[in-house]
């Protein structure tokens, strides 16, 4: 589904990704771990198509298409979703209105009829239940004045609304209390299928008990330096990242 080869990316002339390879197939869950500043969020943004980054070398293929000339809006329509590490506050636009615009633009791009008010409300009610988010929150301006946990929950709500093929969750677990973590994981697991794939970026093995990964990768200095199964996460938790540095 996602094939990244030798990806080099920089921002404001600072190199951040240095020849990164990653391959994700439908039905799989991948976890990416790595020290602060190693480039995890950068990778997530580059996959989602943020234009501030220059991809100086390498390529990203999604479902057989090379993405370099495709903007973030089209990538989303192709089925890529990024749950932001730091969700953006947007005063004056309600999440409801935002999602209605997004859902219908994606539908129209696929040649489907836009949802009318009743259909949309029904979809929203269903997904709200899944992540246990209140209507009142969604009619407020996007993320404005939301608590850290509410913002993360809103990300997963949006993911549920858009039903993407590839979801990238960038530290969706940080700032969540245990109950919220369970709810969010439950949501992610409920949306999992043979046709879609999930990439979770996290610092904590804890999340991986709820969302069990097929592969765990370690990202350091803009590269994947080690990959393994879920046991790698346990090992990292125990020994820290220095252990990998030493081995390399």
């Amino acid at each position: 589904m996602l094939e990244i080869k030798n990806l080099h990316a920089s921002i404001d002339n600072t190199k951040i990704l240095n020849g990164l390879d990653l391959s994700v197939n439908a039905g799989e869950v991948h976890a990416i771990m790595g020290p602060n500043g190693s480039g995890k969020s950068t990778l997530a943004s580059v996959i989602a198509g943020r234009e501030d980054y220059d991809v100086t070398d390498g390529e990203i293929n999604f479902q057989g298409n090379e993405l370099s000339d495709i903007g973030p809006d089209e990538r989303a329509r192709e089925g890529i979703f990024l749950a932001f590490q730091y969700p953006v506050e947007i005063p004056g636009v309600s999440t409801t209105n935002f999602m209605k615009t997004a859902v219908n633009q994606i539908r129209e791009s696929k040649g489907e009829k836009p949802l009318d008010a009743v259909e949309f409300l029904k979809l929203m009610k269903e997904k709200m239940k899944l992540v246990n988010i209140k209507q009142e929150l969604l009619s407020r301006s996007i993320n404005e004045g939301f608590s850290g946990g509410e913002k993360k929950r809103n990300e997963i709500f949006q993911m549920a609304m858009l039903n993407p093929k590839l979801s990238i969750l960038d530290e969706t677990d940080s700032g969540l209390d245990i109950d919220a973590l369970k709810i969010v994981s439950k949501g992610v697991n409920a949306l999992k299928s043979k046709e879609n794939a999930t990439v979770v970026v996290t610092h904590y093995q804890r999340l991986l008990e709820y969302i069990v990964p097929d592969f765990v990768h370690v990202l350091m200095d803009g590269k994947i330096v080690k990959s393994g199964d879920k046991n790698l996460a346990l090992e990292l938790e125990e020994k820290g990242y220095d252990w990998i540095k030493v081995k390399n």
Partner: protein
């Protein structure tokens, strides 16, 4: 400097001696207002543009046939007042009960005295050369008298038609009596293709407990417009101004509010989305002369490639005006490196027990927000529209009437489509 010989000639035909006298005093003041022009119009070269384009300030005396203008009246309007090149067109107008609208010259001597007392007395003509010229060259002041305790919920549209290749002058004087409530929306519609100049001065007197809602919509493409609104408020009166500007070669708005008495309330809200090399200048002042009044001012604007915005907000709090609350802010989004805004707050406070705040910002479209919206599948164009219309909601939500509010929100959405961004 302006040719006063020409101007004196133009008032010699005036048959009313009182008016002639007022006009000739305005000519005497020209020198003073010309001096102030340099400072007050630092970023807005209106005089130079008008002189170059029209040669003279004199207006045309030709009377046009009016029937063809009927189509310009929106079918949504219940009440409307039509003027053509400054002349009241009564047979195209529809006026509600409780309000008298007449030319100053057609009033009875008694009524005239009431208006003359206010008329041209304390407008901004000592400060502004365009108001001076208006005072001299307008042909007939249109008077509005809203009678005591008249509550008009339906808004009255003032449709000013500009169809002349020479400068046009519009002059109106409003007296809103005690306990009355009224809403106006005013707009200038330009018929000529090659660019015209309309100069409009309004004076508004609000008696105790009066409430006024006043909407201005400005979308005049390649034309020039000067607009001066001067408000005088008595005790417990409330004024709400909503100014929406979208295009114009040069538009200069002066909104001057004097809070003469205790416990007045003045709200000034403005939104501009400026495109196609337009230049829009909002100069406002609010003068607190007595205790316990509140003024709120918030202007927001979006300026696109090659366009210009100017904001200047003055707040005066006189020594007697203790316990004044005066707030002001101006926020701008520039859509390109080639968009310009000059914004300047000016506070002069002589009283000590006051609450005042002011602030202005000039920024760009929020990239993080844009990426966030687009990452959910929303096209760049629509994401920008969403952000910009969200930017305007602070201003539109101040419109209390739901129908009018939605009308302006729709208008803004449509106007945002025409903006050029990079």
């Amino acid at each position: 400097m302006i040719d006063t010989v020409d101007l004196r000639k133009s008032i010699s035909i005036e048959d009313d001696n009182i008016i002639k006298d007022i006009k000739s005093k305005s000519i005497d003041k020209l020198k003073l207002s010309y001096k102030k022009y340099k400072e007050e119009y630092k970023y807005t070269p209106l005089l130079r543009n008008i002189e170059k384009k029209f040669g003279s300030f004199n207006s045309s005396k030709n009377i046009k046939k009016v029937d063809s203008y009927k189509d310009l009246i929106s079918t949504n309007d219940k009440y409307y007042i039509v003027t053509l090149n400054g002349t009241f067109i009564e047979n195209l107008s529809k006026i509600p009960n409780g309000i008298d609208i007449k030319n100053l010259k057609d009033l009875s001597k008694n009524e005239q005295n009431i208006f003359i007392h206010s008329y041209s007395k304390i407008d901004d003509s000592i400060d502004d050369i365009f108001s001076s010229i208006n005072s001299i060259l307008h042909s007939n002041c249109l008077t509005f008298r809203i009678k005591k305790s008249t509550i008009l919920k339906e808004k009255i549209s003032i449709i000013n038609i500009v169809d002349s290749s020479k400068p046009t002058y519009f002059r109106k004087c409003f007296i809103i009596d005690k306990n009355s409530e009224v809403s106006f929306s005013e707009e200038f519609i330009n018929i000529t293709k090659d660019g015209n100049f309309s100069n409009s001065v309004n004076e508004i007197y609000m008696d105790e407990n009066a409430v006024l809602n006043y909407f201005s919509t400005q979308n005049i493409n390649k034309n020039y417009h000067y607009n001066s609104i001067n408000v005088f408020q008595k005790r417990n009166s409330t004024s709400n101004f909503h100014t929406y500007s979208f295009s114009g070669s040069i538009i200069r708005n002066n909104l001057n509010i004097k809070l003469l008495d205790k416990s007045c309330f003045a709200n000034m809200y403005g939104f501009y989305a400026i495109k196609n090399g337009s230049h829009i200048d909002n100069h406002t002042s609010v003068d607190h002369l007595d205790e316990n009044s509140i003024s709120n001012e918030h202007y927001k604007g979006i300026v696109d490639n090659g366009s210009n915005g100017v904001f200047n907000g003055k707040i005066f709090v006189r020594q007697k005006a203790q316990k004044t609350n005066a707030f002001q802010s101006n926020n701008n989004i520039l859509l390109s490196d080639n968009a310009k805004v000059n914004t300047k707050p000016q506070l002069e406070i002589w009283a000590d027990d006051v609450k005042c705040s002011h602030g202005c910002t000039v920024g760009q479209l929020d990239d993080d927000a844009l990426f966030y919206l687009m990452s959910r599948g929303i096209s760049r164009k629509d994401a920008i529209s969403l952000l910009l219309s969200a930017f305007s909601t602070d201003i539109t939500e101040k419109i209390e009437d739901k129908e009018i509010r939605e009308e302006y929100q729709l208008m803004i959405l449509k106007e945002l489509e025409g903006l050029n961004y990079e």
